[in-house]
């Protein structure tokens, strides 16, 4: 509790104690007061409680009058309670509890709101507690803690175990494991060694690291993320805009109907029916209207739900750039994927060795050696599969036959490595392979020695991710790729993707997305594009929602996308959609609860069934329910 809240809490306690005491005294009536004296003495005692609990409301109400704001909340509250007080005096019931209770509950409600909002704001900021407080810079052999903002590019900083990495950079000394859970939601630590890039916001767990910074603090990952999440709730959603518009109309409408309720029925009764007017009865009903007229419950619950949803998502490594995107994401019906780097690893690996007449390692060794002068990705993956240092002295007489492959001498043996055309050209008998991917046939000394299959590997979670998307209500999944048709279709059928378009240039991807956008059933069905953020920025912007994945440290992706996944796990896509659905669900529940109860109480109040106690529930009770419900949006861990 802050100072303001503590003060309010004490005031509320005093008011409750005073109210109970005065009520007991009034019941016993020890001095035997009656008649006018009874009314005046207790009237003054109750007035004292009224002022104690409501002086700030009275003050603000007074300011409201001066500033000519008739729909000011405090003014309405003050008016309603003073009115109820006056009626109690006028009717000589001596029941002033109602007016005081309305104010008391109003204050309790405000107190609760301020406490709950402050608490959840703190919780959410703790979830995003990645801001480093200092950086260790070596000055004259001594480590000094300086403000990360003051560290220049290229400075060597030291990060001790247990500290946060303050600025992006490259490790120059030491090795350690990093806890990246605050950034990615991933609990498995990441290993770093000398020469590795390192991203700010991670926590160094085991060893001392010396890092040469490559960015300023303001440009570092951690600053970018914090800025993004903090600004996210400023981009308002449609439901938020609807509610603020509604609030603008709601209060005046209720106040005018209160005015009508106070004047029209009594006049009608007097003039037309010829019955007594019952002014005080109708005025009381009008006053209950004023209590219900405050729109705060509606207005608070919606930004709070979105804020909680965005905070919870960011804790899971899903950064959503605005409430509006969260809302759109919840309506996702079509999900379009880029293949390479999104559903597949994006790195080519040797996935099989077939028909080999010698040991696998030997075959790969020959292939790697003969291809060692090529910079093609294929040659890189062969070298990676070989795993040892390449001794180029063992290779001679290299001849590259374009479109076919490579011939050369390795350790004195004549080696040919290439596609099936090369084998045919050299008159070597071989079988075609039906594995997807790139096939490298190898012949040693003129005889066939086997072939190596190199392909892009599907991510382990991709299949499950597609299945989960289907379960969360996505109707269509589409894969777009620049890859060959055969490879694309194999991957698509393996993963269970509905539609696949292959051999596309980047511009074709945009036109495919545009076609899918125009084919959508209704405006409400949204299209999501998921890419790895590299060279698909145009598509990311064209789709209703662009999701970039594996974006840790990639500025371009953070810039172009609406939702950023910090790691490259495709399961997070379905999770993001589920979080958005839950959050929007809560927003709609809150709007429905608030409207039903408020209008219910207004109708009952007009017929004289609901009294002020019901009205105060419609105001404060609804707000408390809405705030508690909104906080549920934060709980997304097991979604």
């Amino acid at each position: 509790m802050n100072r303001k809240q503590k003060k309010m809490f004490i005031r509320i306690c005093i008011a409750i104690v005073m109210l109970v005491l005065v009520n007991i005294v009034k019941k016993i009536n020890p001095f035997g007061l009656d008649g006018v004296a009874y009314l005046v003495v207790y009237g003054i005692l109750y007035a004292a409680i009224y002022v104690e609990i409501g002086y700030d409301i009275l003050r603000k109400a007074f300011k409201g009058i001066i500033n000519r704001r008739p729909f000011d909340e405090c003014f309405l509250m003050a008016f309603a309670t003073i009115g109820a007080y006056a009626i109690a005096i006028y009717e000589r019931t001596g029941d002033y509890n109602e007016a005081i209770a309305v104010l008391l509950f109003y204050q309790i409600g405000e107190f609760f709101q301020s406490y709950a909002v402050g608490k959840s704001r703190k919780n959410i900021s703790e979830l995003m507690d990645i801001r480093p407080d200092y950086a260790n810079v070596e000055v004259d052999g001594q480590l000094e803690q300086v403000d990360p903002d003051e560290v220049e590019i290229g400075t060597i900083i030291t990060v001790q175990p247990g500290e946060k990495v303050p600025i992006d950079g490259i490790v120059t000394e030491g090795s350690s494991s990093l806890n990246t859970s605050a950034l990615t939601g991933e609990s498995v630590p990441r290993e770093v060694r000398e020469g590795d890039e390192i991203i700010s916001g991670c926590i160094n767990m085991t060893g001392v690291l010396r890092i040469q910074t490559t960015k300023e603090f303001g440009e570092s990952t951690v600053s970018k993320i914090l800025e993004l999440v903090e600004n996210a709730s400023s981009r308002k959603s449609k439901s938020e805009e609807f509610i603020s518009k509604f609030a603008r109309v709601y209060t005046p409408a209720v106040v005018y109907s209160a005015l009508a309720l106070a004047i029209l029925p009594p006049v009608f009764r007097m003039l037309i029916l010829g019955q007594p007017a019952m002014w005080s009865n109708w005025i009381y009903r009008a006053l209950t209207f004023l209590v219900i007229s405050c729109p705060c419950a509606l207005v608070i619950s919606i930004p709070l739900s979105f804020f909680a949803g965005i905070g919870g998502a960011s804790h899971e490594g899903i950064l959503i750039k605005g409430s509006n995107y969260l809302e759109t994401l919840s309506q996702a019906k079509t999900v379009v994927f880029d293949k390479t780097g999104t559903l597949t690893q994006g790195v080519f690996e040797v996935t099989g060795v077939h028909d080999n007449t010698m040991e696998e390692e030997k075959l790969i060794e020959y292939a790697a050696l003969v291809e060692c002068f090529s910079s093609h990705p294929i040659s890189k993956s062969l070298q990676k599969a070989y795993g040892k240092e390449i001794d180029r002295n063992r290779v001679s007489d290299i001849e590259e036959i374009s479109g076919h492959g490579v011939c050369g001498k390795v350790d004195g043996h004549q080696v040919a490595a290439g596609n099936i055309k090369l084998m045919r050209k050299l008159n070597i008998q071989c079988n075609d392979c039906d594995s997807t991917g790139t096939i490298i046939h190898i012949a040693v000394d003129g005889t066939y020695a086997g072939h190596v299959v190199i392909s892009d590997v599907v991510k382990p979670n991709s299949k499950q991710a597609i299945a989960q998307l289907k379960n969360s209500g996505v109707e269509k999944t589409v894969m777009l790729t620049g890859d060959a048709k055969r490879v694309a279709e194999k991957v698509a059928s393996e993963l269970g993707v509905d539609e696949v378009h292959s051999e596309l240039l980047p511009a074709d991807k945009v036109s495919q997305v545009e076609r899918l956008l125009s084919e959508k059933g209704s405006e409400k069905d949204k299209l999501v594009f998921v890419g790895d953020g590299i060279n698909d920025a145009p598509v990311l912007t064209r789709a209703d929602i662009g999701i970039a994945m594996g974006a840790m440290g990639s500025d371009a992706a953070i810039e172009a996308a609406d939702v950023v996944l910090m790691d490259d796990d495709p399961l997070k896509i379905a999770k993001a959609i589920r979080i958005s659905r839950k959050c929007i669900g809560i927003v709609y529940q809150n709007i429905a609860i608030a409207l039903v109860i408020k209008f219910g109480c207004l109708i009952l109040g007009a017929f004289g069934i609901a009294n002020m106690w019901a009205a105060i529930f419609a105001d404060v009770g609804v707000m408390i329910i809405a705030v508690l419900n909104a906080i549920r949006a934060l709980m997304v861990k097991n979604l």
Binding site: K60, A247, P295, V299, I300, F307
Partner: protein, 72 residues
């Protein structure tokens, strides 16, 4: 030009009122008040002096919500 200011406001509807009011102040091209992060970002019209404009904004906001604060 866009600038962000820290604010203090207690209720969500008051924050909305502040946003409305700020948008109407001369020299302000656009404004968003974020109740959750207690921040106000103001987009100034071309040629407007942010300092003078913000004084007017504060005055206008005090009128709709006497308890609000804007850290200038």
């Amino acid at each position: 030009m866009k600038k962000t200011y820290k604010i203090e406001v207690d209720c969500a509807n008051c924050a909305n009122l502040m946003e409305e009011t700020t948008k109407k102040v001369a020299g302000v091209a656009g404004a968003t008040v974020n109740f959750m992060t207690q921040k106000m970002s103001v987009e100034f019209a071309e040629g407007a002096d942010p300092k003078a404009v913000m004084q007017a904004v504060l005055k206008a906001c005090k009128k709709v919500e006497p308890d609000c604060e804007i850290e200038l």
